[in-house]
């Protein structure tokens, strides 16, 4: 009952504070949209590449819409061509070898050239393979004919034991061999943004809820209303739970706004259940909430609360999947596992991109709940500072 009273008060205060409400719900949309356009433009990058002594058929195979190939007529050193013309790369055939030089000023362009050349080489190899198998088929057929010839000349008993070598199925129609590519998750046009969306989503929810809830409890303390509150028979735990439910409700609204925006405005497809996505975001918001409340105990002003962001919030981004945790040094991996956002982002990635069910993200979800329990307990202990009973 008292919990609900506090919850309701927080809700009313929140809705009267239009600025903070806008910060919670509109700022994340603004940042996500900005990221969407920034990372989307990557896919339109075109890399310029010089070429010398490359057969036109190979150039045709390398060529694609992200690559513009400029043929150079004279044999100039690669460095000079790249410097003079500001090409992202230069390809040249000498002594039967392909030599590629990268400018490497823009890694996206380097990656485009690398990929294009590799793809072209694979295509060439496949073609060679195809023609080789065609040749061997002709050879096989000849052998078969010869065998038949020999068989006829042998006595019947032996001839039965010699069966003609069968023609492998896939050699029947060698020209049908083609390269098609499949993407396990997402589509061929997935941008960096789509892959990173779950991480951003988790981070936005975490960051804003952490900041707002921490500052609100701080204000309650600094305006002395916390003391006033503690002069009533309210239990310390009721204050904590009141805050958790009040800001939890705000967090639900915030999460729903962000997720719906991603789906309907940015056109991001969520492969798994949207309810599971909301549930994870909510659990993450509750952890952020309890962390914010706890950390606010150690801050004397709003500015000091902001000072906690580089310590408590920013490092979590690095461990949330932007950089694959599995490739990190051992001790960094240990740190990753004490970061709530690591579990949140990993669960969100699984659901949004790999269609994971709730059951399969249960380990990450339990980890998030464990953080929640730990911080609630810490908050209860922290509240003892203000009233002993």
């Amino acid at each position: 009952m008292r919990i609900l009273t506090i919850t309701k008060r927080i809700f009313v205060e929140m809705f009267r504070d239009k600025r903070t409400l806008a910060l919670m719900c509109i700022a994340p949309l603004f940042i996500l949209s900005l990221m969407y356009f920034l990372f989307q433009s990557n896919t339109n990058t075109v890399a310029d590449m010089g070429s010398y002594n490359i057969s036109s058929s190979l150039i045709k195979t390398i060529d694609n819409k992200h690559l513009k190939i400029h043929q150079i007529s004279s044999d100039t050193p690669a460095k000079k061509v790249i410097r003079d013309k500001d090409y992202a790369g230069f390809i040249k055939k000498s002594d039967g070898k392909l030599v590629v030089t990268y400018q490497n000023a823009d890694q996206n362009k380097t990656a485009i050239i690398k990929k294009s050349v590799q793809m072209a080489l694979i295509n060439v190899q496949i073609k060679q393979l195809v023609s080789a198998t065609q040749k061997s088929k002709v050879g096989l057929l000849k052998m078969q004919a010869q065998l038949q010839q020999i068989k006829k000349q042998l006595p019947a008993t032996i001839s039965n034991r010699i069966s003609a070598p069968s023609t492998p199925k896939n050699l029947q129609n060698p020209t049908s061999l083609k390269l098609t590519q499949h993407y396990l998750y997402g589509k061929s046009n997935s941008s960096f943004f789509t892959t990173m969306l779950p991480v951003f989503l988790g981070f936005m929810v975490f960051f804003f809820v952490f900041l707002i809830s921490g500052i609100s409890l701080l204000n309650e303390r600094n305006s002395r209303t916390l003391d006033r509150l503690l002069a009533t028979p309210v239990k310390r735990s009721e204050i904590i739970y009141g805050y958790l439910t009040g800001y939890g409700a705000v967090a639900i609204i915030q999460t729903a706004v962000i997720v719906l925006f991603c789906i309907y405005v940015l056109g991001i497809s969520i492969l798994g259940s949207i309810w599971v996505v909301l549930l994870i975001c909510f659990a993450l918001a509750m952890v952020a909430l309890s962390m914010g409340l706890f950390v606010s105990t150690f801050a004397a002003s709003e500015f000091q609360m902001v000072q906690f962001i580089p310590i408590v919030v920013i490092p979590q981004i690095f461990f949330s999947g932007l950089i694959p945790v599995a490739n990190m040094a051992g001790w960094l991996q240990v740190i990753a596992h004490i970061m709530p956002l690591y579990y949140g982002a990993s669960a969100l990635t699984d659901v949004i991109q790999k269609q994971a069910t709730f059951a399969s993200i249960l380990p990450q979800f339990s980890a998030i709940l464990a953080f929640l329990v730990v911080f609630i307990v810490l908050n209860m202990i922290g509240m003892r500072k203000y009233r002993k009973v």
Binding site: M1, R2, T5, R9, V12, E13, R16, D17, S223, R224, T225, D227, R228, L229, L230, A231, T232, P233, V234, K235, R387, K388, V389
Partner: protein, 245 residues
Amino acid sequence: MDAAVTVTHVNKSFNKKRILHDVNLTASAHEILGLIGPSGAGKTTIIKNIMGMEQPDNGEVTIFGNPMPNRQVLQRIGFMAQDDALYESLTGRENLKFFAQLFGVKKDRLNARIDYTAGVVNLNQDLGKRVSNYSGGMKRRLSLAISLIQDPDLLVLDEPTVGIDPELRRQIWDELRKYARDGKSIIITTHVMEDAAECDELLMIREGHIITHGSPHSLEQEYHVDNLEQVFLKAGKSNENSNNH
């Protein structure tokens, strides 16, 4: 008479500086107890120790027989802090309702209690306004109304009359007198001598020492003066002398 509040041998220091020196007091039912002293004397510190918001370094505080701090006892205490701790973005009515609900005031009594307490401090007309639009005096009055909301047995009021005009001040004293007659116990602090004259029992406080105590009338007789201000000055002097010896 039953003691509503007892404070026995309470000492309190902040940063190694002694703020309260061996404070003893008893507040009884049917009685208004006034703590009077200049700013910085330690009145608020005594109040906070009574409420259990600060722990005494030694000594004991009991309220209705329960050692403080005690959460359940807070249900029976109406508290008004020196600084107005109000929710500025809420209206006066919402503030009253919030505290009423924390004290578990029943739904059917809720509106009656809000209207009654707001009436005591003449705030009925302004209950719909947000507290951020209140003047200092209006905030003070709302704080006082909140302290009455659950019909407490003990009132602990830290400087309740600051910023309140004389006419309303009279009305508030009449109301407090009525509660005392009804058997409630009231502790108030003030640095204004006019307020002191309204109390049944006075404790004069100076630099954390209780320099004298008694009813306003008996104090004037004891020190052979005709106003409380002079009692304070005389008592302060004799206390200084006794401390030096």
